[in-house]
């Protein structure tokens, strides 16, 4: 963090007093405190998250890595409000998800969270245009043509708007999914293995897009990946194992 240095000089230029003022610390846009998520599998309780503490500041691009079954996707679902935590707290943009009802979490998700999934999850009956516009419709403010155009042009989808998902390549589908996720200007973009179903070239394209959204537009991104190369696109990496964050490191 940048420090501000304030020095008061005497008339003879000797120092009367000085102080170093620190800029106020940024509030994390996402914060979890001793987060637990336990699933019941038959008669056995399975703890997918075992006391996870995570902080994400605005404008960060955090990559979460770990082996299969370590709880990455579960963490994403809980912090995105799709699943309810068993214990602990999740604060998203100052809102405590763990104290919210299902309807309240739905409302929060509608306005503050954008999701991108590994399998794109576009609606097959709608073309690209309507898949993107659907998010605006659900958001409740109706179709915003200006914002729609900005997002479509940013993601290079102008020529593909009238094509259905089955007529788009994997990379194009994921770009449509990203467009759908950001068209409502969410506070945080949660990406669950966004390149998992893509070839190398398409993966690079999507990751570059996400990095561009983060760097140029300040979009906060949390991305799950098991690909170390993909993780280099972020500003910070967190490693998970057995439901815990084991270490983290800043990349940029």
């Amino acid at each position: 963090m940048a420090n501000a240095i304030k020095i008061i000089l005497r008339a003879d230029d000797s120092i009367l007093c000085g102080e170093i003022a620190r800029e106020p610390a940024l509030e994390p846009i996402l914060k979890t405190e001793s987060l637990w998520k336990v699933y019941r599998s038959g008669k056995v309780d399975v703890a997918a998250l075992r006391g996870v503490d995570v902080r994400v500041l605005p404008g960060e691009f955090v990559c979460i890595m770990g082996p299969s079954g370590c709880g990455k996707s579960t963490l994403l679902h809980v912090i995105g409000g799709l699943a309810r935590a068993t214990r602990g707290r999740v604060l998203l943009d100052g809102n405590d998800l763990t104290a919210m009802s299902d309807a309240e979490r739905t409302l929060l998700r509608r306005h503050k969270v954008g999701f991108v999934f590994q399998k794109f999850n576009l609606l097959p009956t709608l073309d690209a245009r309507h898949n993107i516009a659907l998010a605006q419709h659900i958001h409740g403010n109706g179709f915003d043509p200006h914002r729609f155009d900005v997002v479509v042009d940013l993601l290079g989808l102008r020529q593909r708007l009238h094509h259905r998902p089955s007529e788009l390549s994997g990379g194009e589908q994921q770009r449509v999914a990203i467009a759908r996720a950001i068209v409502t200007e969410p506070k945080i973009l949660l990406a669950d293995e966004p390149t998992g179903n893509l070839d190398t070239k398409s993966s690079e394209g999507v990751l570059s897009l996400l990095r561009g959204l983060n760097k140029d537009l300040g979009q906060t991104v949390v991305m799950i990946t098991h690909n170390p190369d993909a993780a280099t696109y972020g500003t910070r990496v967190l490693h998970m194992r057995d439901g815990l964050v084991v270490n983290g490191s800043a990349l940029h």
Binding site: L82, A83, T106, T125, H130, A135
Partner: protein
């Protein structure tokens, strides 16, 4: 999105629409058939030309179910009353061999005195004991000509003439013949009475009530208004049962269709929830699709009703099916109600799906 979802599975949509159409057609045709039957029967009874109809106590308004318990000599007493110009006793029999028909046993002279006589298309009146007159509708429907033999009520009759329709029944034989066949010697089912003036009808009815207390005395003017399903309790129940069956068909068709739809679109529901769609949004989508299917099905059903009516009337010219506008509307409302009811449980299930489980559903 609603329209696209429906068009996405054209075969399932078509089957659902057809199912709802069948429901609508069933209601329209059942009501149309019963109303047509009643109305047509009432018209023909009115067409006898009488002012009053006398039946035994507690007799059904539907003459087809009349017995023959009245002594024919009552006609003489009725003829002597003030305001009575002519009396025609009629013996009614219901024939169920080679079709369903009402047969009138008449005395040609008294019947002519009330009805004004038959208008002949071919042949002549009843002369021999085995003579039978058929109306033109019956003749066309059964391809009957003068001179042919008709097997009615277990007896061979000789077709003596073809007459204009609209005078009570479609088949007429001599009363004496019918009395012999049915063992109802000197009995009649109905007395048709013609007044000297139609405005004397109420007064004549009062006199008849004094002469024959407890007997069913009905004016034939506006007889059609009396021939409603509410005056025939069994018919009301029948219509209600058929409507119930139709609603059940619509309910089940829509329930199964929407249930399989939401199962198939589980992941889509998860996606909508991840975008922040509320439970009511999900329910609204399912019910909106259902409404559109019901509207399409109702429209198709109305068209199918007209087509089926044409088929039935072409095959059975003596059949009357009335497609009533208010029943067309009512059947559409029934289809919509049944459909929305059928879709409500699938809609509820869809709204309550866990988004995480839905998103990973294959």
């Amino acid at each position: 999105m609603i329209l696209r979802n429906i068009l996405h599975r054209p075969a399932r949509t078509l089957i659902t629409v057809i199912g709802i159409a069948v429901e609508v057609t069933l209601v329209i045709l059942v009501v149309g058939l019963t109303t047509g039957l009643l109305t047509e029967s009432a018209k023909r009874t009115e067409g006898v030309g009488a002012d009053i109809m006398v039946q035994p106590p507690s007799a059904s308004i539907w003459a087809a179910f009349s017995g023959a318990p009245m002594p024919i000599r009552i006609a003489g007493k009725l003829k002597k009353l003030n305001y009575v110009q002519a009396v025609a006793p009629v013996l009614v029999q219901f024939n169920s061999v080679n079709g369903l028909d009402i047969v009138y046993g008449i005395q040609p002279d008294t019947f002519s005195g009330v009805s004004g006589g038959f208008v002949f298309h071919a042949g002549h009146g009843l002369e021999a004991p085995d003579d039978i007159l058929v109306d033109d509708v019956y003749a066309r429907a059964k391809d009957v000509r003068v001179g042919q033999t008709l097997h009615i009520l277990g007896h061979d009759f000789h077709v003596a003439g073809v007459v204009e329709h609209g005078k009570g029944a479609r088949l007429f034989v001599l009363m004496s013949t019918l009395q012999q066949m049915s063992g109802a010697i000197d009995k009649a089912s109905i007395f048709f009475i013609k007044c000297d003036r139609s405005d004397h009808t109420p007064a004549a009815m009062d006199e008849i009530r004094q002469l024959l207390p407890g007997y069913e005395i009905r004016p034939l003017k506006d007889f059609i208004s009396l021939m409603t399903s509410s005056n025939l309790p069994g018919l009301s129940a029948f219509i209600s049962v058929m409507i119930g069956i139709a609603v059940a068909i619509g309910f089940l068709v829509v329930f199964l269709s929407m249930y399989t739809t939401i199962i198939e679109r589980t992941r889509e529901i998860g996606v909508l929830k991840s975008l922040g769609a509320s439970k009511s949004y999900i329910v609204e989508i399912v019910l909106s699709e259902t409404m559109l299917l019901c509207i399409l099905g109702s429209g198709f059903g109305v068209g199918l009703s007209f087509l089926m009516r044409w088929v039935f009337v072409t095959a059975f010219p003596s059949m009357t099916i009335l497609i009533l506008p208010r029943w067309v509307m009512f059947s559409g409302m029934i289809a919509l109600a049944g459909g929305l009811l059928g879709a409500s449980y699938p809609a509820w299930i869809a709204s309550r799906k866990d988004p995480v489980e839905a998103l990973v559903y294959e």
